[in-house]
Symmetry: C2
Subunit: 480 residues, 2 copies
C-alpha cells in the first residue's frame, strides 16, 4: 500500500543566515534526495575535470585534452576504473593525489548518498528504517502509517551518517594498507613506494576502483597469493555494501539478528562468487593464453580472484582480451549484477537479482508472496527490481549499439567494456583506451548512468507515491 506524501512545509525555519542555508539544503535534500544526489555527483565531476585538465596534474606538465580529463573525472568519481590514458604514467604526483582524493570522495559520496536515500525512502514509506536497525525484524514495527515531519532526514543525521561511513571506510582501508605493506617489502619493493603504493592499492580495492599506482600493475604480485587475497578482501568489503558492514560490525556472531537484506546480500554474493570461479575454471583451464599452463591450485585461485573482481573490483592478473568468448560473456553477466546495495560496487545489485528469482520461485510454487529466510517480501519490491533491471538493460543496450556503430568493433569487446562502464567494474578488453572522442563521451555517460542512475533511480521510484482516487476494473493479458 502506498502512503500519500506529507505536506511539504518547513516547520524548523531558522533565523541566522547560516541556519537558513542549512535549512535550504535540508529541505532540498529531503524533498528530492535523488536530484540532490545527481547535483552533487555532477558538481564533483566538473570540479575534477578542471583539476585533471590542469598542466600541474600531468606528468609532462601539459594540458590533458578535455575528453580524457572528463572521462578520468567520471571514472574516478564513479569509482569505475576505466581509463583512456595510461593511468600510471600519464599523471604527475599531484594528479595521483587528485585521483586518490577523487576516489575517496566518490566512494564516501556513493555510500553516504545511497544510505541517505535508503533512509529517506524507508521513512517516506512510513517504515522503520531498515538500514540502521541491525537485525530488527519485528514485524510490528514495520506498520504503514502517516509520515510526520519529525521523521524526515535532517542534515545533522546526514553528518552523523557521513561520519560513520568515513570512519568505517578509513579503518578498513588502514587495515588493508597495513596488511599490504609487508607483502610489498617481501616482493622487493623499496620502503617508500611500498608504503604509498599500499595505501593507493588499499583505496583502489575498498573503493572498487581498480587503478594500479605502478606502471606494471599487478604483474609483480600475480604469484603473491597473500597480496592478492588482501586485495580480494578489500574489494569484497567495499562491494558488499555499507548496511552489511554496519550490521556485521555489531552482530558478526549473532546471525539471528541479521536482517533479511543482510542474509540475502551475503548468500547471493557467495553463490555468485563461487559460480563465477567454477565457470572460469571450466572455461579457461585449457586456454593457453590464460590458465592453461597453471596447476590445479593456481587455476582455482586465479579463477576465484577473477570472480571476486567482477563484483566490481576491476583488478586483473591476466589481459582480459585473452579470455575465451564464453568467459567474457560470463564476466558480462557477473559485472551486470554487480555488488550489494549502498556499496562502492556497481551493477543492478545482488538483491535485485535475488528478488527476481524469488518471484519466479514463488510463481513456480504457487505461493502468494515472495519468501526468503522466513520472511515475506512485499510485491512492490519486485516492481522496483524490474524497474532497475530495465534501466540497466536499456542503458547497456543503447550504449552498446552506439559504440558498435562508432567503432565497428566486435560485440565481445564492446559489450564487455560497456557493461564494465555501466557496472563501474573497470575491467577492460582494451577497447575503451582506443575509442575516438565521441565514444569516450558515450562511455562517460554510461558510467554516470550506471553509478548515479541506479543509486538514485531506485530511491526516486520508491519515493514516488500517489493516492489513487478510484480503482479501475481488472483485466489479465496473456504473457509468455
Amino acid at each position: 500500500m502506498r502512503i500519500p506524501a506529507p505536506t511539504r512545509r518547513s516547520v524548523y525555519a531558522s533565523r541566522t543566515p547560516i541556519g537558513r542555508i542549512r535549512d535550504m539544503i535540508d529541505e532540498f535534500s529531503e524533498q528530492s534526495p535523488s536530484r540532490f544526489a545527481i547535483l552533487i555527483f555532477t558538481a564533483m565531476i566538473l570540479i575534477f575535470t578542471v583539476l585533471f585538465s590542469l598542466p600541474v596534474s600531468q606528468a609532462k606538465g601539459a594540458v590533458t585534452p578535455i575528453a580524457d580529463a572528463l572521462f578520468t573525472a567520471v571514472s574516478v568519481i564513479c569509482v569505475t576504473g576505466l581509463s583512456t590514458v595510461d593511468m600510471a604514467t600519464h599523471w604527475s604526483v599531484v594528479g595521483h593525489i587528485f585521483i586518490f582524493i577523487g576516489v575517496q570522495i566518490g566512494a564516501l559520496g556513493v555510500l553516504t548518498l545511497a544510505s541517505i536515500l535508503g533512509l529517506a525512502v524507508s521513512r517516506k514509506l512510513g517504515l522503520k528504517s531498515r538500514l540502521m536497525a541491525a537485525g530488527d525484524t519485528n514485524p510490528m514495527r514495520m506498520r504503514h502509517g502517516a509520515v510526520s515531519e519529525g521523521q524526515a532526514v535532517r542534515l545533522g543525521e546526514i553528518g552523523g551518517l557521513l561520519a560513520t561511513v568515513a570512519v568505517s571506510s578509513l579503518v578498513i582501508q588502514l587495515v588493508i594498507a597495513l596488511l599490504l605493506i609487508p607483502r610489498m617489502l617481501i616482493d622487493g619493493v623499496a620502503l617508500a613506494p611500498a608504503i604509498t603504493d599500499s595505501f593507493y592499492y588499499s583505496a583502489m580495492a575498498f573503493t572498487n576502483t581498480g587503478f594500479a599506482p605502478n606502471a606494471e600493475g599487478l604483474a609483480p604480485f600475480e604469484n603473491d597469493y597473500w597480496f592478492l587475497s588482501i586485495l580480494m578482501l578489500g574489494v569484497f568489503m567495499g562491494s558488499i555494501g555499507f548496511p552489511i558492514i554496519y550490521v556485521l560490525s555489531r552482530n558478526l556472531k549473532k546471525p539471528k539478528r541479521w536482517s533479511l537484506h543482510v542474509k540475502l546480500t551475503l548468500v547471493t554474493s557467495l553463490i555468485l562468487i563461487i559460480a563465477g570461479a567454477v565457470l572460469y575454471i571450466v572455461l579457461e583451464f585449457d586456454n593457453p593464453k590464460t590458465y592453461g599452463d597453471l596447476n590445479a591450485g593456481d587455476t582455482i585461485f586465479q579463477s576465484l580472484f577473477l570472480s571476486v573482481m567482477t563484483r566490481s573490483g576491476g583488478f586483473s592478473t591476466i589481459p582480459i582480451s585473452d579470455l575465451n568468448g564464453s568467459s567474457l560473456l560470463v564476466t558480462d553477466m557477473l559485472m551486470f549484477i554487480g555488488g550489494g546495495s549502498a556499496s562502492t560496487a556497481g551493477g543492478i545489485k545482488v538483491t535485485t537479482l535475488a528478488v527476481l528469482f524469488l518471484a519466479a520461485f514463488a510463481e513456480a510454487r504457487g505461493n502468494e508472496s515472495m519468501e526468503a529466510f522466513g520472511r515475506r517480501i512485499p510485491g512492490d519490491v519486485l516492481r522496483l527490481g524490474v524497474s532497475v533491471v530495465l534501466w540497466g538493460a536499456t542503458t547497456v543496450a543503447v550504449s552498446t549499439i552506439v559504440i558498435l556503430q562508432i567503432t565497428k568493433a566486435p560485440l565481445d569487446f564492446v559489450l564487455f567494456d560497456v557493461i564494465s562502464a555501466f557496472a563501474t567494474s573497470g575491467l577492460t578488453t582494451g577497447l575503451t583506451a582506443s575509442l575516438p572522442d565521441s565514444g569516450i563521451y558515450v562511455m562517460a555517460a554510461t558510467m554516470f548512468m550506471g553509478r548515479v542512475g541506479t543509486v538514485t533511480l531506485a530511491a526516486a521510484l520508491a519515493a514516488s507515491q500517489r493516492r489513487q482516487l478510484f480503482r479501475r476494473p481488472e483485466e489479465r493479458p496473456i504473457v509468455g
Copy 2:
C-alpha cells in the same frame, strides 16, 4: 489471490473402451496440460526425425545423418526455420512434403496448445476465459471463485478449438497463396512451380518458419514489393497470435470491444515494428553491403521488411552476416521479444515486455497497480512475466556460453543464432550451418526450450497454486 485447486476426480467416467481412452486423455490434458504439451511435441519431433532420416526423403536417396535429421525435425515442428543442411537442395519431393506437413502440424499444435493452456489456466484461476470472449471486458464477470469440474477443458472443446484454429489457418494460408501466385507469374516463374511454391511460401510465412522452396531463396523477388508485402502480411498474421485473429475476425471495426490483451499486443507489436525499421534505417543506410546503394524508399521498405521478419518470420533479402554489429544486436533484441502469445512466433512475447514496462511506469508514477487502456493488471501477471524472461535469459545465456566454448566463434554471430533458435526466428548469420554435431544438439535443445518451454512454462506456473496456511512477517530488502 490464488484459489485452491479443485479435488481431482473424474465425474464423467465412460463405459466403452474408446470412451475410457478419451477420458484418460481428457484427464491427463486437464490435470497437467503442460506435460501433455511437452509429450505431444516430443512425440512429433521423434516421428519426424525418423521420417527425415529415411533415404526416400533425401534428394540423392541417401540416409540423412541423425544429427541433421533431428535438427530438421525440431526446426520444422518448432517452426524455427534454422537448418544445418541446404533446405532447398538436400531434400527430395517427399522430404519437402514432410517439411510442409511438419510445419502445419507444428503451427497448429502450438496455436491449439497455447490456446488450450490459456483456457485451462484461466479456468483454473476461476476466471472467465479471456481467450474466446472477444472483447468481453465486463469486470463483474471476472470475479474470483471456486472452480467446478464443469469448467475444466474437455476433449470436445479441444476438438472445437483445433477445428477453429485449423480453419482460420487454412483460410489465411489460402488467401496468401492466391495473392502470391500472380506475382510469381509476373516475376517469370512457370505455372506449376508458381503454384506449389506459392503455397509453400504461404505456409512458411503464416507458420513463421521461413524456409524457401527454391534454391535461390528470396533473391528473385527481392525487388517485388508486392510479393514481399504479401509475405510480411502472412508473417504478421501468424505472429500476432490466434486470440487476436479470433477477436479481430469478429470485431475488426469495433475497437471498444477489443480486450486488453488484443490492444496491448497490437500496440506493442506496432511500436516494435516501427522502432525496428527506424533503427535499421539509421544503422544501415550507409552500409555498402546492405542498404548503402539503395534509394530512400527502398531503404525504408527493406528496413521495414527486416523488422517484421524479426517477429519471427525468418525470411531475409540480404545476408544477415553483412549487417553492422549494431543492427545484429538490435535484431537480437527484437527476436528475443518475439511475437504475440498463442502465435506461431517465438520469444518471450510482446505482452511480457509490455507488462515489464507497465510495472516500471506504475512504479515511476507511484501507482498502486499496473494500468493500461483503463484497466488494472493484477500483480501476479508481473511475476509470471518475470519468470518467462528469466527462463528466456537463462536459456539463451547457457546456450550461448556452450556454443561459444565449442566453436570459439565471435559473440556477434553466436548470440544471434542462439537467440534466433530460442525465439524460433530462423534468421541466421551462417553459424548454425557450420556447427559440429555437439553444437547442433545444443541448438536443437535451444529451439525446443524456446518453443515448447515458453508456451508451457507460463501455463505451468500460472496453474500452480498452493493454499498458504500462515502468513510470514513482512520484510523489505534494499534493491538497486
